[in-house]
Amino acid sequence: MERMAGELSGILEHVDRIGELELDDVPPTSHVVELENVLRPDEPRPSWPREDILAQAPDPADGAFRVPSPQADS
C-alpha cells in the first residue's frame, strides 16, 4: 500500500501539469465521433437462455445468482 501511494503521487504530480493550461473556454470532449441518435425497430427478440448465463456464475442456485448475506454472519 505504501509503495502504491508513492507511485500514485508521482503519477498525479505529472498529471497536475494540465493545471497550468488555460482551458476556461474550452468545451470538454467525452466522445470523438460525431454521431446522431441511432434508433432501431422495437422488435421482440429472444433473450439469452438462463442456463447459459448461470453456467458462468461462481454460485448459481435455483435459477438465480447466489451471494452471501449482506449482513455479517451471526
Partner: protein, 472 residues
C-alpha cells in the same frame, strides 16, 4: 511447410482460392508453429478441425465456449456464451481462430508484464518485452507463430507492440470496428485493429473487420470498405512532423531511423514540414486521467457474482466483493482503479477529469488544424526500441511514457499505423531491434493511410526477421 508460412495472408488466401494451396495444410502448418510457442504468446490454442485462414486473437475478445480472460485472474475459467462481432466478422470472411493471445491485464500496460499468466517475450530478444498491451498478438506475428492477429488499442496497445516486434499495427478510427464482445477498458478510446506482417494484410483484415454493428451504437464502419493498397508514389502528399519532436526524449537509434524514413518519403515525392502540435505533450496526462476514470467504471462489473472467479473466503456480501477484487485484480489494474475513482471523486472531478476532457478537445483541435494543410502527421511509434524484461516494472510513470507518441491519436480518435522502418541499437548498446514509424491520418482516412504506408513499405523493403540479425 516453411515456404507456405512465408506467404503473406493475401497470397495464401489467393493460393487457397485457386486450389494451389490446401486450406487444411496451410492451417496445420500454422497450428504446428503455434504449438512450438516458447514466447508465452498464446494463452489458448485451438484443436478444432481446420476450416479457415488461421488468425491469432487477443484474449480480450469474447469467443463462445472458449476461455476468455483478458489476462486477468478475475476471469479465470470464464467461457463466454457469445462471440465478439469482430471475431464473428473475421469468421464470415473465412478466418478461423488459431489461438487466444496473452496480454496485459485488461489491456493496461505497455510491456505485457502485467498479464496474470506470465510475461510475453520479444521474438527478437527473449530478455526483452514485446510491448503491450497486445504483446501476445505482436510476438505471435513477429515470431512466426501466427500469420496475422487482431488486438486492441486504447493508447497505443496495437501500434507500440507492433513497432517493438517489427510488424505492422493499425489502430483504425474510433467507430470503424464494432466493440461488441471486446472486454471494455476505456470505452471512449478502445478500438480493435490488425497486427500483420505487411500493409496489404492489414488492409485485408480491416476490410473484414469494419462495419456498423447494431450491437455497438458507436460503430459506424468505413464507407466503401477497404481495398488492397497499390500506391507507388507520394507525389503531392504533405507530411507534418510535430515541431516539438526535436526536444522529445527519443533514443538516438530510433531518431536516426525516423530521420532516414523522412528522407525516403521525400525520395518518393512527399513533402515534409514541421507543424506545432503544442498540446501533444499533455497527452499522457490527459490519457492517464481519462482512461483510468473510464476503467474504474467499467471494471465495477467484476464482483464475483455473475461470472469469473469468487474469492474462497466469504463473510458478508461486501467482504466477498472486496476479497474477490483483492485476489482477482493485479497491481496495475488496482493502481488505475484508484487513479480513476480519485479523478472522478467529488471535489477533484473538475481539476482532473474535467480538465483532461478539455485537454482532449485541444489535442483533437491541434490535429484538425494540422490536417487542414497536411495529409498526414508522422512520428516514431515508440521513443525506444524494446526494453528489458523487468526494466520499468517498478516505475509506472516511466512505463506510461512509452505511450507518448501513440496516446494523442487515441484521444483524437483518428487512425494511425505503425510500420517497421529499420533496426537500431538501444541507447547504451545491445542487439539490433526493430523501430516503428507511425503515420496518422484524419478520421476515416484509412484507405489513404494504407496507400501511403504501402508506398513507404515498398521503399523501405524491411525484410529482417528475428534470428536473422546477429547480436551487436
Amino acid at each position: 511447410m516453411v515456404e507456405m508460412r512465408e506467404l503473406s495472408v493475401a497470397d495464401a488466401a489467393a493460393g487457397i482460392a485457386s486450389g494451389e494451396i490446401s486450406r487444411e495444410e496451410y492451417f496445420e502448418a500454422w497450428r504446428g508453429a503455434a504449438a512450438g510457442d516458447e514466447l508465452g504468446a498464446y494463452l489458448w490454442q485451438s484443436d478444432a478441425a481446420a476450416a479457415g485462414l488461421p488468425i491469432a486473437v487477443k484474449d480480450i475478445f469474447c469467443t463462445e465456449g472458449v476461455p476468455t480472460t483478458a489476462g486477468s485472474r478475475i476471469l479465470e475459467g470464464y467461457r463466454p456464451p457469445y462471440t465478439a462481432t469482430a471475431v464473428r466478422r473475421l469468421a464470415e470472411a473465412g478466418f478461423q481462430v488459431l489461438g487466444k493471445t496473452n496480454m496485459d491485464e485488461f489491456a493496461m500496460g505497455s510491456s505485457n508484464e502485467n498479464s496474470a499468466f506470465g510475461p510475453v517475450r520479444n521474438p527478437w530478444d527473449r530478455e526483452r518485452v514485446p510491448g503491450g498491451s497486445s504483446g501476445g498478438s505482436a510476438a505471435a506475428v513477429g515470431g512466426g507463430l501466427a500469420p496475422c492477429a487482431i488486438g486492441t488499442d486504447t493508447g497505443g496497445s496495437i501500434r507500440q507492440p507492433a513497432a517493438l516486434c517489427g510488424i505492422v499495427g493499425l489502430k483504425p478510427t474510433y467507430g470503424a470496428i464494432s466493440r461488441y464482445g471486446m472486454i471494455a477498458f476505456a470505452s471512449s478510446l478502445d478500438q480493435c485493429g490488425p497486427l500483420t506482417r505487411d500493409v496489404t494484410d492489414a488492409a485485408l483484415l480491416l476490410d473484414a473487420l469494419q462495419g456498423r454493428d447494431p450491437c455497438d451504437s458507436t460503430s459506424v464502419g468505413i464507407e466503401g470498405g477497404v481495398k488492397p493498397p497499390s500506391r507507388e508514389s507520394l507525389e503531392g502528399l504533405h507530411f507534418a512532423v510535430p515541431a516539438e519532436l526535436a526536444h522529445d526524449a527519443i533514443e538516438s537509434g530510433v531518431r536516426a531511423v525516423f530521420e532516414s524514413t523522412l528522407k525516403r518519403i521525400e525520395g518518393l515525392g512527399g513533402e515534409i514540414a514541421e507543424v506545432p502540435l503544442t498540446h501533444a505533450e499533455h497527452g499522457i496526462s490527459a490519457y492517464y486521467v481519462i482512461a483510468p476514470a473510464e476503467a474504474s467504471a467499467n471494471l465495477a462489473r467484476y464482483d464475483g457474482v455473475r461470472y469469473g472467479m469468487r474469492a474462497e473466503e466469504l463473510g458478508d456480501l461486501i467482504s466477498m466483493y472486496e476479497s474477490t477484487r483483492a485476489e482477482g485484480f493485479g497491481d496495475e489494474v488496482k493502481r488505475r482503479i484508484m487513479l480513476g475513482t480519485y479523478a472522478l471523486s467529488s471535489g477533484y472531478y473538475e481539476a482532473y477529469y474535467g480538465r483532461a476532457q478539455k485537454v482532449r478537445t485541444k489535442i483533437a483541435g491541434d490535429y484538425a488544424s494540422a490536417f487542414s494543410s497536411f495529409d498526414f502527421v508522422v512520428t516514431p511509434t515508440s521513443p525506444s526500441v524494446a526494453f528489458g524484461l523487468g526494466e520499468k516494472v517498478d516505475d509506472p510513470l516511466a512505463m506510461y511514457m512509452n505511450d507518448f507518441f501513440t496516446v494523442p491519436m487515441s484521444l483524437a480518435g483518428i487512425p494511425a499505423i505503425s510500420i517497421p522502418a529499420g533496426l537500431a541499437e538501444p541507447d547504451g548498446g545491445g542487439p539490433q531491434l526493430p523501430v516503428g514509424f507511425q503515420i496518422a491520418a484524419p478520421a476515416f482516412g484509412e484507405q489513404r493511410l494504407l496507400e501511403t504506408a504501402y508506398a513507404l513499405e515498398q521503399e523501405i523493403g524491411f525484410d529482417a526477421r528475428p534470428g536473422s540479425v546477429s547480436d551487436g
